[in-house]
């Protein structure tokens, strides 16, 4: 035990003496939560759209005002001239052009089907489909008001309409930031555990200091404990810091218990640090370790469901995710933070992480050789 303490003291001394470590530990959580949460957002806000009104009637003006009233759009109003449509979209002056045809009001009043044209810049497919959805929502509201409204209907006709009211559970306002923040925390903690552990261990090999350690009576378990414990502690600290930022700056609701979250975090850190150790087993320079981790990390993080729903991924991807610790931790963090899930609710995820953590760590420790 004394030896472990001596190694721990040395590790912390080196970590805090490293010029890059203090920024990594204290600045990274701020940058990641404050910048990435906004940058990675899928929300539409004040998207600039153009409406070409060829009708210039009460109805068309009413529709335009509905677009303008929506928080999603800002209408650059344009009448007759629609020769520049393509050009405007090409130059990114507008995201979408909607054309209200001639006789718009007249046709509606006479119950003649009306065609509206909508052009959307689909370079970014995701926001294009969101624009389309929101435009259709506004149109639906307009249709309900003007067409299905009893005064517009001729006598004898009865409007058939369903009034569906949705309630969004666990994230009532569909606040995208509340969805992204737990995801960013997963990135943060994964980076601390996988990257820092691997780089720290490979550094000893690269600098040759391992050679001197190996002629001392330090045993493998003592050395590895002393190496990994600091990143466990730093990882937990980072989670606490990131959560605090989320709660203070983004009003992140915290429904679950802090204890549950930290139990999960410890299990996940164990697996993450195991991955770091495993990579350090095979890498002999920090550069090799860095590139290897980057390769795997990108795949694992994109598959984890940070941006997209895992359920809509192809079957093979879902199968691969069964052995992706980041996938489980992503689910866990979101469920615990937004839904208040307990360990009992997430027992499958918990067991999966425990099994993976123990497996990865066992292989990594078994493969680990102090000598080359």
């Amino acid at each position: 035990m004394r030896t472990v303490l001596i190694i721990l003291r040395k590790e912390f001394r080196q970590i805090f003496r490293d010029r890059m470590m203090i920024p990594i530990i204290f600045i990274m959580p701020f940058v990641q939560t404050l910048v990435l949460v906004y940058a990675a957002t899928l929300e539409l806000k004040d998207t600039s759209i153009t409406v070409v009104d060829l009708d210039r009637s009460d109805y068309s003006r009413n529709l335009i005002s509905k677009f303008n009233a929506s928080p999603f759009f800002k209408v650059n109003f344009q009448d007759y001239n629609y020769s520049n449509i393509e050009d405007d979209i090409l130059k990114e002056n507008t995201k979408s052009v909607i054309i209200i045809p001639d006789n718009f009001e007249k046709d509606i009043r006479n119950s003649i089907p009306v065609n509206l044209q909508m052009n959307i810049n689909a370079i970014d497919g995701q926001s294009a489909s969101l624009i389309s959805i929101y435009v259709n929502q506004i149109l639906a509201g307009f249709v309900k008001e003007k067409i299905l409204h009893p005064t517009v209907l001729s006598q004898g006709q009865m409007p058939v309409s369903f009034n569906v009211k949705s309630r969004f559970l666990y994230n009532e306002e569909l606040n995208f930031k509340h969805f992204m923040l737990p995801g960013i925390l997963v990135i943060l903690i994964s980076m601390i555990s996988i990257f820092l552990t691997a780089l720290n261990l490979v550094k000893e090999k690269e600098k040759g200091t391992m050679e001197q350690i190996n002629v001392t009576p330090i045993q493998k378990w003592q050395f590895l404990t002393g190496k990994m414990l600091p990143f466990m502690i730093i990882g937990i600290f980072e989670l606490a810091l990131g959560l605090t930022i989320g709660i203070l700056m983004f009003d992140l609701p915290f429904e679950g218990s802090v204890l549950t979250l930290f139990v999960f975090a410890l299990v996940y850190l164990f697996a993450g640090i195991g991955m770091g150790l495993l990579i350090s087993d095979f890498a002999s320079t920090q550069q090799q370790a860095m590139f290897t981790i980057f390769f795997f990390f990108l795949i694992l993080i994109l598959m984890s469901g940070i941006f997209t729903s895992v359920e809509s991924m192809p079957d093979w991807a879902q199968t691969v995710n069964k052995i992706n610790p980041l996938y489980y931790f992503m689910r866990i963090l979101r469920s615990v933070i937004l839904k208040g899930s307990t360990i009992a609710d997430l027992i499958q995820e918990f067991l999966a992480l425990v099994i993976m953590g123990v497996t990865i760590m066992s292989v990594a420790v078994w493969r680990y050789r102090k000598t080359n």
Partner: protein, 306 residues
Amino acid sequence: MAEIEIYNLCKNYGDVKALDNLCLSVEKNGFYGLIGPDGAGKTSLMRIITSLILPDSGEISVGGLDPVKDYKKLRLKLGYMPGKFSLYPDLSVEENLRFFAGVFGTTINENYHLIKSIYSQIEPFKNRRAGKLSGGMKQKLALCCALIHKPEILILDEPTTGVDAVSRREFWDMLNEIRSYGITILVSTPYMEEAVLCDTVSLLFKGKVVESGTPKEITSRYSSTIYSVKTDNIPLALKVLRNIPGLMSVNSFGQNIHLVFKDENHSEQEITNFLTANNILDAELSRIKAGIEDSFIDYILKENKN
């Protein structure tokens, strides 16, 4: 029984034979030097002795222990200074020393007497990061760290490589002092003039001990007479002497050229005449005793001819 006893030790890296049936024996409290060119197997041998790598075959006993089976006990008895500086550059002098004392379960104070004369030289810089020390100071710190747990055997792998001449001299004085505490020393060096300071020397070549004995013994085994030629124009003299009849070898050593013939039927007069005939007039000629380097070059030349 000798402190380090090695018999028929082999170590291969793929097809390369790093150690080839190597035999060696270091007496207790001996001061044993290993010399040999790069790739002779010096580092491999030391890493096997210090339990860092495993031998392929052969018998080895260090301090009465087997480095393969009893490595845990052995590590307490051994001090090792690797060829490359391998202390923590981001820890200070004192922190490095305290760390290594700590992991050996001892303290700086407990064994301070052992390192006092060395450590006192770097103590003024004890708060400086080890990475910022000069080559000579790094080497002194590494020696302190290898000694702080009071080892019985000290193994040093080319400790003076890349260190200035004055520091090198100082360092060997330190080794002599360490030896006076009863510690057995095994040191490797590429510098011939250092090897003669040991009491036993082995020449290592292609993974084998090719000569072994006291520096005197080795040089006396060297049969041929050596003529030393001192001249201002070494390049020209070298070129000329390569064509002297009956030549075995000619090499330059600093200011001198060492000349060896295949047999003893040559005289100083003959050489002087030959040099004069080739327009080298300032040559001073003398017969000298062979140095370790002569013996070594002699061996390698014979080896290459076979």
